[in-house]
């Protein structure tokens, strides 16, 4: 790339323009800093393809990722150039307050808002880390960083050619991130956008699209969940079981294994069973086994809950083939002949599925076999027939391998590790459970058989 040295006249024009702006800055060292930047940016941003217009030059000054920082400490004012991202990386605690402090420090430091596009991009990157990615107030503060009035198009050519494309693209990216996290903008955002970019801008069009589609899709789910989801695994398990259970009469019961003396895992157990399922269990023959299967996953937005089911083998209803067109044996009811009484049967309930009859479901704190044994003990209070019916455990972990899902960019390898996935709540003692070797040295009672 050939280096292009601009003529002296342009340098003086630009320099004087900056000087006009610089005059109002109090610190005397700002001027020397800008002189340093002049040289560097010319070499970087000038090439044969760039148009050497004054406007583009000034814009190129705005496209710097470097920011002057005064290092903290006594009398010495050591200036260093730090990356914009370090402004966020330096904060000790990651929460809303420190994030807003970082934004405000940028606003205060520079009245002219130099490099605001880069600053906003780095802020967007760090929002999830600081936990403010779903906060509308923070997005509004971010949008207020744009200088007002400058980017509004004044004629139709400016509208058509995306006046200030870089800034508009930045605005669109802020709205895009809002959309991807499901944050709906409000009329205050509209006012900010009109004052910053104008009503004909591409950013405002995106806002318009968001305000059309997001309210339509906000509540279409037939399985609504509270927003935000509870963080407590017990509450999540209760929500999950309530969602999975189809029978409206299902009762969700909560127990604790501490009440049983001979249990090893002292954990909470949430179970769901309806009166219909209790009836089905009573009708279940004593010599046939009942299977405990698991663990399966149900996703509640971004949280996964593992649950277990108690399943019996499916009931086979005899399929009676009747040929309705058969005319060989018609009952003559007019001569007082009574038709053959047909077999009557109850309609199969919702719990009787083709692959089995679901008799109960549960979720436990540790998802270990020991907690399931405790669950059976608790179920025996309401279903005394469980004391006689053989129970078989068929347990497997939900996925064949435990993988670490890299959320951070630094972690990039898939490895079989004991930590488990980041988003799945701490229920990952599944790796300790295997159906063949049971590490819990509990003597099985005679009615519980292990496969």
């Amino acid at each position: 790339m050939k280096s292009f040295r601009p003529s002296r006249s342009i340098v003086t024009v630009v320099h004087s323009l900056w000087y006009l702006g610089v005059k109002r800055i109090k610190s005397p060292t700002a001027l020397s800093f800008i002189r340093v930047k002049l040289n560097r940016n010319y070499n970087q941003h000038y090439c044969l393809h760039c148009q050497p217009s004054v406007v583009i030059q000034i814009q190129n000054f705005c496209t710097t990722n470097w920011v002057k920082q005064n290092e903290k400490g006594g009398g010495s004012t050591v200036k260093s150039l730090t990356l914009r991202e370090e402004v966020f990386q330096r904060e000790e605690s990651r929460n809303k307050k420190t994030f807003i402090t970082a934004l405000e420090s940028y606003e205060k430091r520079d009245r002219l808002r130099r490099g605001h596009v880069e600053f906003i991009y780095s802020a967007l990157k760090f929002m999830e880390e600081f936990g403010v990615h779903k906060d509308l107030a923070v997005y509004k503060k971010l949008l207020e960083i744009f200088p007002k009035g400058k980017f509004i198009a004044k004629n139709m050519f400016q509208v058509e050619f995306m006046h200030y494309p870089k800034q508009q693209q930045c605005g669109i990216d802020v709205l895009d991130q809002m959309e991807s996290f499901g944050v709906m903008p409000d009329s205050e955002v509209k006012e900010i956008l009109i004052n910053t970019f104008g009503k004909q801008s591409h950013v405002f069009r995106k806002y318009g699209r968001m305000m059309y589609w997001m309210p339509k899709f906000k509540n279409i789910t037939p399985f609504p969940l509270p927003d935000p989801l509870p963080k407590d695994p017990l509450e999540l398990a209760k929500l999950a079981l309530r969602r999975i259970s189809v029978d409206l009469q299902t009762e969700i019961s909560e127990w604790n294994a501490e009440e049983l003396e001979d249990s090893l895992d002292k954990t909470w157990i949430v179970g769901s069973q309806s009166p219909l399922q209790r009836q089905l269990l009573e009708q279940h023959p004593d010599d046939q086994a009942v299977y405990i299967e698991g663990s399966f996953i149900v996703w509640l937005r971004q949280m996964a809950v593992s649950y277990f089911i108690m399943r019996a083998n499916p009931k086979k209803y005899p399929a009676k083939e009747e040929d309705l067109d058969d005319v060989s044996n018609i009952t003559l009811t007019m001569f007082d002949h009574h038709p053959e009484s047909k077999e009557l049967m109850l309609e199969p309930s919702i719990h009787e599925q083709e692959d089995g009859t679901i008799l109960a479901m549960c979720a436990t704190g540790t998802s270990s076999r020991d907690s399931l044994l405790s669950w059976i003990r608790f179920l025996q209070h309401t279903n005394p027939c469980l004391k006689k019916i053989p129970v078989v455990f068929t347990l497997k972990s939900p996925s064949k391998e435990l993988v670490t899902v890299a959320v951070n960019e630094q972690e990039s390898s898939i490895a079989e590790s004991q930590e488990g996935c980041k988003k799945i709540p701490t229920r990952d003692k599944l790796s300790n459970v295997s159906s063949n070797e049971d590490s819990s040295s509990r003597t099985p009672s005679k009615d519980i058989a292990d496969r």
């Binding site: 399985f223 259970s245 189809v246 399966f296 996703w299 899902v405």
Partner: protein, 241 residues
């Protein structure tokens, strides 16, 4: 050569059936509350009519997925969704897996459409894992701008061991092209549907599974909605450009 002759025989057989149907002219008449099962997932041959892709196939990511036969003789669309973005500087978000049926065909491998004008709803009997999936009804048009026209709606699954019948009216499907919802919306042209697909995507990485029993169409006599998304008069070069 032998394979070619065998194919020719099959195609001629198909063509004969089409001609006989055409001359008999006995179209199926559907009454309210009638359903027609279009796809079942009993056997491996039926699974071969579906194509399973993920972002790792397009070098956009690291998810993997599979369409197999579950032990209950139902189709099982399962896999692992990975939202890590490959470091090539161009991709911003990642993580999707998709199954899509092969295009409807007439005899001699001619492209055809599914004609569902008599129906009002799409029904699926599924057993999901609580995630929401995206249903895609592709209506590839003749002109190149219409090649990526897809009508979408979201399939919410309850999760759990119980089977679920999802009944989605065709009036709720919205138009998108190349993944972007279009500004100018129209009700879905039910006689021009070429493919159907189900996508698993999102920001939650982890395993997913969707067991499908059948996909069909349903005629509900009480459904009067024509299109769910109202249109507004907007300035001409602002919207839809």
């Amino acid at each position: 050569m032998k394979y070619g002759i065998k194919e020719l025989k099959n195609e001629v057989q198909l063509w004969k059936e089409e001609m006989s149907e055409k001359f008999q002219y006995d179209p199926k008449v559907y009454m309210p509350d009638d359903s027609e099962i279009v796809w079942t997932f009993d056997t491996k041959e039926k699974l071969n009519q579906w194509v399973c892709t993920s972002d790792s196939d397009n070098k956009d990511g690291f998810s993997h997925c599979d369409l197999t036969l579950s032990k209950n003789k139902k189709g099982l669309f399962s896999g692992f969704l990975d939202c890590r973005v490959p470091k090539d500087g161009q991709i911003k978000e990642s993580g999707y897996c998709n199954i899509r049926c092969l295009r409807a065909r007439k005899s001699f491998k001619r492209d055809s459409f599914f004609d569902w004008q008599m129906f009002t709803h799409l029904i699926l009997r599924i057993r999901g894992d609580g995630r929401s999936y995206m249903l895609n009804l592709t209506t590839t048009g003749y002109f190149d701008v219409m090649w990526h026209d897809i009508y979408n709606y979201i399939l919410f699954t309850r999760g759990g061991p119980y089977w679920q019948v999802a009944k989605i009216p065709f009036s709720k499907f919205f138009l998108s092209s190349k993944g972007r919802i279009q500004d100018k919306q129209d009700p879905i042209p039910l006689d021009k549907i070429t493919n159907i697909g189900i996508t698993c995507a999102g920001k939650t990485p982890g395993p997913f599974q969707l067991e499908i029993d059948y996909i069909g169409v349903h005629f509900d006599g009480n459904h009067t909605e024509e299109f769910a998304y109202e249109m507004y008069n907007v300035p001409s070069f602002i919207v839809g450009v």
